[in-house]
Symmetry: C2
Subunit: 252 residues, 2 copies
Amino acid sequence: MKRILLTVAYDGTDFCGWQTQPGKRTVEGELNKALTEMTGKEIAVIGASRTDSGVHGKGNLACFDYDGPVPADRFYLALNTYLPDDIRVRASEEVKADFHPRHCDSKKTYEYTYYCDAVPMPTERRFAAYTFVKPDIEAMNRAAAYLVGEHDFKSFCCVRTQAESTVRRIITIDVFARDENHVVIRVTGNGFLYNMVRIIAGTLLEVGAGRYEPEIVREMLNATDRCAAGKTAPPEGLTLVRIEIPPEEKYL
Amino acid sequence: MKRILLTVAYDGTDFCGWQTQPGKRTVEGELNKALTEMTGKEIAVIGASRTDSGVHGKGNLACFDYDGPVPADRFYLALNTYLPDDIRVRASEEVKADFHPRHCDSKKTYEYTYYCDAVPMPTERRFAAYTFVKPDIEAMNRAAAYLVGEHDFKSFCCVRTQAESTVRRIITIDVFARDENHVVIRVTGNGFLYNMVRIIAGTLLEVGAGRYEPEIVREMLNATDRCAAGKTAPPEGLTLVRIEIPPEEKYL
């Protein structure tokens, strides 16, 4: 028996999020179905990040135990032939038997993308949130700087969160123009609360639009109250780009 | 009565192309339906470019005659509220009464995008053709240079073409890496034959993969035989970016 770790990419548009739910199409559900079909055994993966409905993944992680003949580092090639085309496993590798993708040190990087123009562009609507605002990127970066470090992010998480602690550490946030019409917020941290990146993205856009001064983000943090921060930006703009785990957590 | 010209953008994935066909969902069909619903009159647009099934548009053009109260330059705002979210009209303006978007001098720019990686990326599959090849962009540009100018493009058009002449003029072709994984072929010309850009894209990828020498493109042109050129690249990689029409063709 070996534990295999998959790197999973998906277009989240047509999924009810990552986590299995009865009667709903989810990424985890499709992975389990494909693994069971491929191996002939009931397999249920453990995912690293339970992304929301409509949120995309380029590097989510999932692991499961397997004792068949397919080599771990070639497993993804076979599995892809069982998956729908909005999910692709990008890599597979063997990890130590007690590895758990949520109970380990990790750094997650998300990108939130806005498409900024006078009229929406249909070819952008699945992977970027639309805004007619041409945001002030410099103001957004000044606001974002207040979020870097370890803070209680209670103001920046959904009131329905079940997390015991709302303290998290943001390692970096960068706001930049990818081209004339795309503004990207790239954030790396050691963990994120429910809706945290989308509330940060919504708040930073309001700063970029001149509705809030950048300095108000500090007060928002201090309020530890969801009502103090800005709107939750829509899911289509959000992509989980990668999850970095130190080798000693993964391998013996 | 005035003639209104629309700039039309669409995600071509879920359309059976531009041109109206009975029982099929097409861009032209949806535009006509929305215009009829908005104005209460039967309206049928005349399109500039009848893009194929699965091909995208950022700047296709369509015109029609209208005698209602909505100002031409604000018409698109109202029309967008009647359209499905995979079509957006980006601009509208009044043009002269005898303007015809296919019977005028114009410059069309298309982009063909390849996503190049070991494994497909689900978030790219609608707007880029996948290839595991890391193509040699310099070789592709050398091959592309043979296509610039006025040539008989019979080898580079679908055998089912109904065009009387297969002579066309390509003004520029550039092949470039948009980032680590995207290779873009941008081509501007005064008109394109059926499947011409997709056959050029398929042929240039084979050059980029080292299957053909760049110089062979000259022989392909001279053969005036579809069998001489490379494969037709799939539709999802193709986007009609813009159509430029000189002001004197549009306005009195």
